[in-house]
């Protein structure tokens, strides 16, 4: 589903620059990994690089999706349009604050990725996810009428609406109270298992990650560089 080797991203310039390194990562279908680390260590930077939003300084190998698209080659060729198309097709993002468009109803927010790709508006997976996250009564409301927890649930459904292969979530529970955070985590994991996706969840809530027994990519801080390695 996703295979990365020898990734190094640099943020900033000169003495303030900070590098983020990921030597190897392989995600198979149905696998969920957590990315943990202190605030500011570069978790988001790593997610942006994996999410094709940031050009890495070095990348030995990056294969994405069931068709094993060679991302490294596209990045080297600066093929931005192809990268953007790949991103919108194969990746789903859950943002820290939901990132729902305030002017669209919950239903339209969820369907927007499908409409953009020209997919059929009716999707079994979406209907199932909406029911599982008990969003059915909220479908015609605007995001501003929803609680933060509800918004994050909508964001989760939107992230999988176009049936991507890989789900990238950036601290999806950060704004939630512990009870709601745990509930969302549960639902997110169910959704991923149900659809057979791979997922990468950035979280600083270690307790939560441990409770669900997720394999972890941990941050190891070095001089001007953070290395992410699987922790056993």
């Amino acid at each position: 589903m996703l295979e990365i080797k020898g990734l190094r991203v640099v943020r900033g310039q000169g003495p303030q620059s900070h590098a983020v390194r990921l030597d190897a990562l392989q995600l198979r279908a149905g696998e969920v990994w957590a990315v943990t680390g202190e605030s500011g260590c570069g978790k988001s930077t790593l997610l942006e690089a994996i999410g094709l939003l940031l050009k890495p300084e070095r990348l030995d190998c990056y294969l994405l999706g069931s068709e094993q698209h060679d991302v490294a080659r596209l990045l080297a060729g600066e093929q931005h349009a192809a990268l953007a198309a790949l991103r919108s097709r194969e990746l789903g993002f859950v943002l820290q604050s939901g990132g729902l468009l305030p002017f669209l109803s919950v239903r339209d927010n969820i369907l927007l990725p499908r409409r953009l790709l020209g997919l059929d508006a009716h999707s079994h997976a979406v209907e199932k996810a909406v029911a599982a996250l008990s969003l059915t009564p909220l479908l015609d409301k605007l995001p501003q009428a929803l609680s933060i927890g509800e918004r994050q649930r909508v964001a989760c459904v939107r992230a999988i609406a176009h049936e991507p292969r890989v789900l990238l979530a950036d601290e999806p529970t950060a704004a939630l109270d512990p009870h709601n955070a745990q509930r969302l985590f549960e639902l997110l994991l169910e959704l991923v298992a149900e659809l057979g996706l791979s997922a990468l969840l950035v979280s600083h809530d270690w307790a939560l990650v441990e409770r669900f027994g997720l394999p972890r990519l941990g941050a190891i801080n070095g001089q001007g560089e953070t290395r992410f390695e699987p922790l056993v």
Binding site: L53, L95, Q96, P102, F103, L104, L112, L116
Partner: protein, 407 residues
């Protein structure tokens, strides 16, 4: 990927949803456009209405187009033809010496008018503005005054009589003519008979002592050696703008003329002054409008930066986001234009109602044509589109990664 028109339709739907959701701010921006467009349309409507009304008044009176030759001379047929073929000339016809442009008219039951003006006419004569002005030699058109005195109606016969003294003998030439039409007193106030140019020349030749069988004359010199000549011409310019060059052309030939150039010039001056005033006000309004739009659009984009970044993250290209921004500007300016047009309509109704009936101002008209409206719409869209492009340049730089970070 979707075909382009589906993506555009999606963008339009998103733009509309965004504008509607944000309707308070949208309304403010549209209202600021209305505030510029409505007064400009009203001002332009007034300028156009007043000037076109003045011009219409000028045109409705053919005397405003006339260039009068003040003195008599001798002009041959070639000169007249040259005159008629000049681009500035709308209508020109040769006239005889003024002594010979009078005759007596005799109607039925002993009715008669003596010393009626006899005026030549031909097709397209602006003085008559009548379809009957292309006369045969045995037809005439009467002015209302002459017709009243003769109690003549259209279709009646009227006898035209001239007298001369030839070889110590008083003679009378006469010809029976059919009344083709009667000209209203508004167009020509004095008693007059309009005839074909040939008949007028016949009258002159008869008076000059030639043999003119058409008038029943059996004596006099033969006309064979006599060339056609005119003492002056009745000349009308093609339009208001042709009066001055036409007069100049005549003056160059040492022909003294008079015309209503002063009135024409004053209308032109009013047009020029109003145009200048309108231009300056429109320019000032436009600058203010552009400045306020630039500010509003840029602030709007900064406000919506996160949403735009999310759109980028979901897979909208940067050009799609730019189109999104420009679309919103165009939709706003369309709304503003419709509002401005409605305000203009109400304002012009008010003008016409309150000022139109007043005696002092005459018929007061505030008026724009459909073309003016379309040009104004295009201008509004152009300005909004250009201003939005500045915003679009900023929107293009928004990176999808920005949506991942808290701003």
């Amino acid at each position: 990927m979707n075909p382009w028109y589906k993506r555009l339709a999606l963008l339009v739907r998103l733009s509309l949803a965004d504008l509607w959701h944000d309707r308070n701010v949208s309304l403010c921006m549209a209202a600021s456009l209305v505030a510029v467009i409505a007064p400009l349309l009203l001002l332009f409507g007034l300028k156009h209405g007043v000037v076109s009304q003045l011009q219409q008044e000028l045109l409705s009176d053919p005397r405003n187009l006339e260039v009068k030759m003040l003195s008599s001379g001798h002009y041959d047929q070639a000169w007249l033809q040259r005159l008629q073929q000049r681009p500035e000339v709308g209508f020109a016809i040769g006239q005889t010496r003024s002594l010979n442009t009078q005759a007596d008219l005799l109607g039925e039951r002993g009715r008669f008018v003596d010393n009626v003006e006899v005026i030549p006419t031909a097709a397209n004569d602006p003085l008559l503005a009548s379809e009957f002005s292309a006369l045969q030699a045995d037809q005439l058109i009467l002015s209302e005054r002459a017709a009243q005195r003769l109690e003549a109606k259209v279709g009646d016969s009227v006898r035209l009589r001239v007298s001369r003294r030839l070889n110590e003998v008083n003679e009378r030439g006469e010809r029976t003519l059919r009344v083709q039409a009667i000209v209203a007193a508004v167009r020509f106030a004095r008693p007059a008979a309009f005839v074909s140019p040939e008949l007028l020349l016949d009258l002159e030749h008869y008076r000059d002592g030639y043999l003119v069988p058409a008038l029943g004359a059996g004596s006099g010199q033969s006309l064979e050696a006599v060339g056609v000549g005119y003492a002056r011409a009745r000349i009308y310019a093609r339009d208001i703008d042709s009066v001055a060059p036409l007069e100049q052309w005549l003056n160059q030939q040492r022909i003294e003329t008079s015309s209503r150039l002063a009135e024409i010039d004053s209308v032109k001056a009013i047009n020029h002054v109003l145009g200048l005033i309108f231009g300056v006000i429109a320019g000032a309004a436009l600058i203010g409008c552009i400045a306020s739009l630039v500010g509003a659009f840029l602030a709007n984009i900064d406000r919506k930066r996160r949403d735009l970044a999310v759109l980028r993250l979901l897979g909208f290209t940067s050009s799609a986001v730019a189109v999104y921004v420009v679309l919103q500007a165009l939709l706003l300016s369309l709304t503003g234009f419709v509002g401005g047009l409605a305000c203009y309509y109400l304002g012009s109704l008010l003008f016409d109602q309150l000022l139109g009936s007043s005696q002092a101002t005459g018929a007061f008209i505030c008026h724009i044509t459909v073309w003016h409206g379309l040009v104004a719409l295009l201008l509004a869209l152009l300005v909004a589109g250009l201003v939005a492009l500045i915003g679009a340049v900023r929107a293009i730089r928004i990176q999808p990664a920005e949506s991942l970070r808290e701003l």
